[in-house]
């Protein structure tokens, strides 16, 4: 039920006094209610649940998380290489 899908806002317009828009989900577009994300602009990413944008996706934060994941692996690999080279000299 609480499934939320990230998508990119392609169009924004008013329909019957409500802020609506078109959101692109990797090629599939749908009309989505944008009333709860009043500051979102065309090109921004959002998370959509039952036809409603529930939050603007913070792209900088997403990149930061991915960077931390990548660093975590790099550190582990360095330690592993360190251990292996130590084992080699022993």
């Amino acid at each position: 039920m609480c499934l939320g899908i990230p998508g990119q806002v392609k169009e924004i317009y008013e329909a019957g006094g409500v802020r609506m828009g078109v959101v692109d989900f990797a090629g599939i577009t749908k009309e989505i209610c944008l009333a709860y994300v009043p500051e979102i602009e065309v090109g921004d990413y959002t998370i959509v649940h039952v036809g409603f944008a529930i939050t603007q996706l913070d792209e900088a934060s997403a990149q930061e998380t991915l960077r931390l994941f990548a660093e975590m692996g790099a550190l582990a690999e360095e330690l592993q290489v360190g251990e292996e080279s130590q084992a080699g000299t022993a």
């Binding site: 009043p38 529930i54 930061e64």
Partner: protein
């Protein structure tokens, strides 16, 4: 798909598993609150790849599963009435009531329709002024803003033929109930990311303090779930109890304020029965007095509901994390997704459905999997 694929990277998942293994020295029991997370965990085999010390307890965060039987029976009674178009999210149609489900009502001639969004039901009300349109308004805080907007719009449009059967539930009171239960084994929580997108994380600060329990706000993709588990394990190993946000790209401390303002207008907090669990005080939303005219329970006199649960179904224990689905004697026998005895076998977020769909018919230890 952007912002999905990156969070499903198997190589990084392997590193996160390594980190969790390296950090774990003792047994820990962590509850993922949300059924969407349960499905992600079982589908990706995360529970089987974690160190054996880490037990994931599946929480009650499946709104379809916890919608009380009396409300399901009311839905069935309303949907069967002539002149009614009964609209629901698809998940609800196979949920067993006392004697039948919404699919059966449909096959018997009831006009039951699946909608993607609650606004679709408002459009139906505009298109069919001669019919009564009833929307089945269930869900946690994630879904509530959508349902609230439908009622708000119906009022703005002056629609007299639209009403909502409301059975909304709230996560923080459920966490309180779990922590107050003497049977609880939960030592840390992964909080439901999209609930927090709407409500913010601040609601969880008092829970962390009161119960001295780590709570990590967690997303739904495999890397999100692993990062939530990693942070929970690190806290448990250090003896910390803090609120952490492992889903910062979608969750802020304050949450979605326009949505919260709409919720405060349309809904009011109420005691709510949870199927299989019982009444949890102040754990749900009903329509506020301002929107009472749109309450389907008042519009349709459907009193005298006598509920009858299956005597074989043990979904209440599953929902409280006291029983794994495949420990239930009826699992995969009398109870399958085609012949469900309880809602946990029906919903795309139910723990029993996840175990059935991904072939968890026996306990891992029974087949020698570590």
């Amino acid at each position: 798909m952007k912002y999905l694929d990156e969070f499903r990277n198997p190589e990084i998942a392997g590193r996160l598993f390594d980190e969790i293994r390296a950090a774990t020295t003792r047994p820990w029991a962590i509850m993922e609150v949300c059924g969407g997370q349960t499905h992600s965990i079982i589908r990706n085999g995360i529970d089987q790849l974690l160190p054996p010390e880490i037990e994931l307890i599946h929480g009650p965060g499946c709104p379809v599963c916890v919608t009380p039987l009396a409300i399901i029976d009311k839905a069935l009674a309303i949907a069967a009435q002539p002149g009614v178009i009964f609209c629901s999210f698809g998940d609800m149609l196979r949920v067993p009531g006392s004697s039948k489900d919404l699919f059966t009502v449909k096959s018997e001639g009831g006009d039951v329709r699946i909608v993607y969004s609650p606004l679709d039901a408002v459009k139906l009300a505009q298109a069919h002024p001669d019919r009564e349109i009833v929307f089945f308004g269930i869900g946690f805080e994630t879904t509530a803003p959508a349902n609230a907007m439908a009622v708000f719009q119906a009022k703005q449009l002056g629609l007299r033929n639209f009403s909502m059967l409301v059975s909304h539930v709230l996560v923080p009171p459920a966490i309180t109930a779990i922590m107050e239960s003497p049977a609880t084994r939960v030592q840390a929580f992964l909080a439901a990311g999209h609930v927090c997108s709407v409500m913010g994380t601040w609601q969880y600060e008092p829970l962390v303090e009161r119960y001295d329990v780590p709570i990590v706000v967690t997303g739904f993709e495999p890397l999100d779930v692993l990062e939530g588990i990693r942070r929970a394990v690190l806290q448990l190993e250090r003896g910390d109890a803090r609120l952490e946000n492992a889903y910062a790209r979608a969750v802020s401390r304050e949450g979605n304020q326009p949505a919260q303002a709409m919720l405060a207008d349309v809904f009011a907090v109420t005691d709510r029965g949870w199927r299989g669990i019982g009444v949890i005080p102040q754990s749900g939303w009903r329509l506020s007095e301002r929107y009472r005219a749109f309450d389907a329970e008042e519009r349709f006199a459907v009193g005298d509901i006598r509920t009858q649960e299956s005597p074989l179904c043990r979904s209440g224990e599953v929902l409280q994390g006291l029983l794994k689905p495949n420990q239930c004697p009826a699992f995969g026998q009398q109870c399958t997704p085609r012949t469900p005895l309880g809602a946990t076998m029906v919903s795309s977020e139910g723990a029993c459905a996840a175990y059935y769909q991904y072939g968890r018919f026996v306990q891992a230890e029974e087949i020698g999997v570590q």
